[in-house]
């Protein structure tokens, strides 16, 4: 049965004013997109295609020049705890321990300390960082920091999880493990997820829908359903179906990457 619409992006565009007398830059053409509740979609595109801008607008960290975003029926007017976000850069608070980082949103909402401890412990377990609760972010590897960031976003129990190339700075092996970890959590808990990436394999493996975006000004070029069974095992990446999807998306992305490279 089809799930109700959770996120609806309606005619959203973004123009950045030109700095120093230069012409304004259209980062995002008017874009429409709906995401069903508990769906996992990836937004795939070359760098500079406005995919991060779109995500930031959904998060409320950036404002659309036109159009609007509705989440759960309400219009987005600013950032809020209903839309958790994981950034590409390491954004753990360096002065807080891993446990305190995960508890940040809970504390901000006034959740009592005992309950906070329980939730934090549960999410540290889920991302496999039980033994690192008292470590500072500086003492962790990049992959561990991003796992903490995922736990921090999930512990807040958001309606939607937004991820902006969260594994972009990790090496290939770690990246593969992180994909499995996140997908495993999603398969068990189901949440609405919008995951931005420029990695084709990652886009297919994680999602039930891949949104391909074109080079600047960004717009949605195609919307590709991924009908691979859940739970997905990493071996699915070598299946014929996966390869077929990969070949198709590679073609689409390549054309855009060429355009983007010419534009720069």
């Amino acid at each position: 049965m089809p799930e109700p619409v959770e996120v609806s992006i309606e005619g959203v565009s973004r123009v950045f004013p030109g700095a120093g007398g230069r012409a304004p830059v259209q980062a995002l053409s008017p874009t429409d997109l709906t995401v069903a509740k508990n769906d996992f979609i990836t937004v795939l595109g070359p760098s500079g295609c406005g995919k991060s801008t779109l995500l930031r607008i959904v998060a409320g960290l950036d404002r659309p020049s036109a159009g609007r975003v509705r989440v759960g029926g309400r219009e987005v007017r600013g950032p809020g705890p209903d839309r958790g976000m994981v950034f590409q850069s390491y954004t753990l608070f360096p002065w807080l321990t891993v446990a305190e980082n995960v508890a940040f949103g809970l504390r901000e909402r006034g959740v009592p300390a005992a309950e906070r401890r329980e939730i934090v412990a549960a999410y540290l377990d889920k991302v496999g960082l039980r033994g690192f609760a008292e470590h500072y972010p500086k003492q962790l590897s990049g992959g561990m920091q991003q796992r903490t960031a995922i736990a921090r976003a999930l512990a807040n129990d958001p309606e939607i999880l937004l991820l902006d190339e969260p594994f972009g700075a990790l090496d290939n092996q770690t990246r593969g493990l992180m994909q499995e970890l996140l997908l495993g959590i999603w398969e068990r808990e189901r949440k609405t997820v919008i995951f931005v990436t420029h990695d084709i394999e990652e886009a297919i493996f994680m999602a039930s829908r891949v949104i391909v975006m074109s080079a600047r000004p960004g717009r949605i070029k195609s919307d590709v359903a991924v009908d691979l069974d859940h739970p997905r095992h990493y071996t699915v990446k070598t299946s014929p179906e996966f390869s077929r999807l990969k070949a198709r998306l590679t073609e689409e992305i390549r054309a855009e990457a060429v355009l983007a490279a010419e534009a720069h």
């Binding site: 409320g60 608070f93 909402r109």
Partner: protein
């Protein structure tokens, strides 16, 4: 040895200690040769031995310890007052751009007003008591701290602030739980730096219209041509600076373990 002198090559712990101390030794040696060897008239520059004797006399016979105490209290008093005003204002300016727009031009202007030039005016206003000494240090420190704190807070990593927003933080939470803890070590470093400058202001304040303090001793010694005492006073200031610097650094290590972790 070319291997010891490569750009950016680190130096070992003990080698660092030996090198650091050896300059002090060389310095005193050069001083001793110049004075004890008779190259410089004694009237203008006392030799190290006289300096130590004068210092001993100052400490044991002339109550110089209480002068040191008075000066330290003035520096700390004026500096703490300045910090109490400047740090909150700097944080507000860094966080809220309209507040910054309101204060920043004036503070930037006031920062260049030399604190020492205010001494005559402050004597007129506040007399030659402790208030005047504290005010000199206050004026010398407050604007510097405000501006530096405002810049530091304003440069807080944007992505940390954004992450806090997506976790449900409100404006007051952003200030209390992101901007302040993120910049606290840098603010401590700013205070350490400005405390060093406060020491130069206190001596200036004590050179004029004062009846106690290290600066007062120095100006009295000038009338007596007691260069040994003057040098001893200057060295004492340097030593106190060294100690306060060390204490500040130790406190920072204790307060901000995450910086070193």
């Amino acid at each position: 040895m070319p291997l010891l002198l490569r750009p950016l090559q680190p130096v070992g712990r003990s080698a660092r200690l030996v090198l650091g101390l050896s300059f002090f030794v060389l310095f005193v040696l050069a001083w001793a040769v110049a004075t004890l060897g008779g190259f410089v008239p004694r009237t203008f520059l006392a030799d190290p031995v006289t300096m130590v004797q004068d210092g001993w006399l100052l400490l044991t016979r002339f109550g110089f310890l209480s002068d040191i105490g008075v000066t330290v209290w003035r520096v700390v008093g004026g500096f703490v007052l300045a910090a109490l005003v400047a740090v909150p204002l700097g944080v507000l300016m860094g966080a809220y751009k309209p507040v910054e727009a309101f204060f920043e031009p004036f503070v930037s202007f006031a920062r260049y007003l030399p604190a020492s030039a205010f001494v005559p005016l402050l004597i007129l206003w506040a007399g030659i008591g402790e208030t005047q000494k504290l005010l000199v240090i206050f004026i010398g420190s407050v604007f510097q701290i405000i501006l530096m704190v405002a810049v530091t807070v304003g440069n807080t990593r944007r992505d940390l602030v954004e992450a806090a927003y997506t976790l449900g933080a409100r404006d007051s939470g952003i200030i209390r739980r992101v901007l302040i803890p993120a910049t606290a070590p840098d603010i401590a470093e700013i205070l350490r730096l400005v405390l060093g400058w406060a020491w130069t202001y206190v001596i200036v304040a004590e050179l004029i219209g004062s009846s106690s303090g290290i600066g007062h001793m120095i100006i009295e010694s000038q009338a007596l041509l007691a260069t040994g005492q003057i040098i001893f006073g200057i060295i004492v200031i340097g030593l106190i600076g060294l100690v306060s610097d060390f204490l500040f650094k130790a406190a920072n290590r204790l307060l901000f373990p995450w910086k070193l972790a």
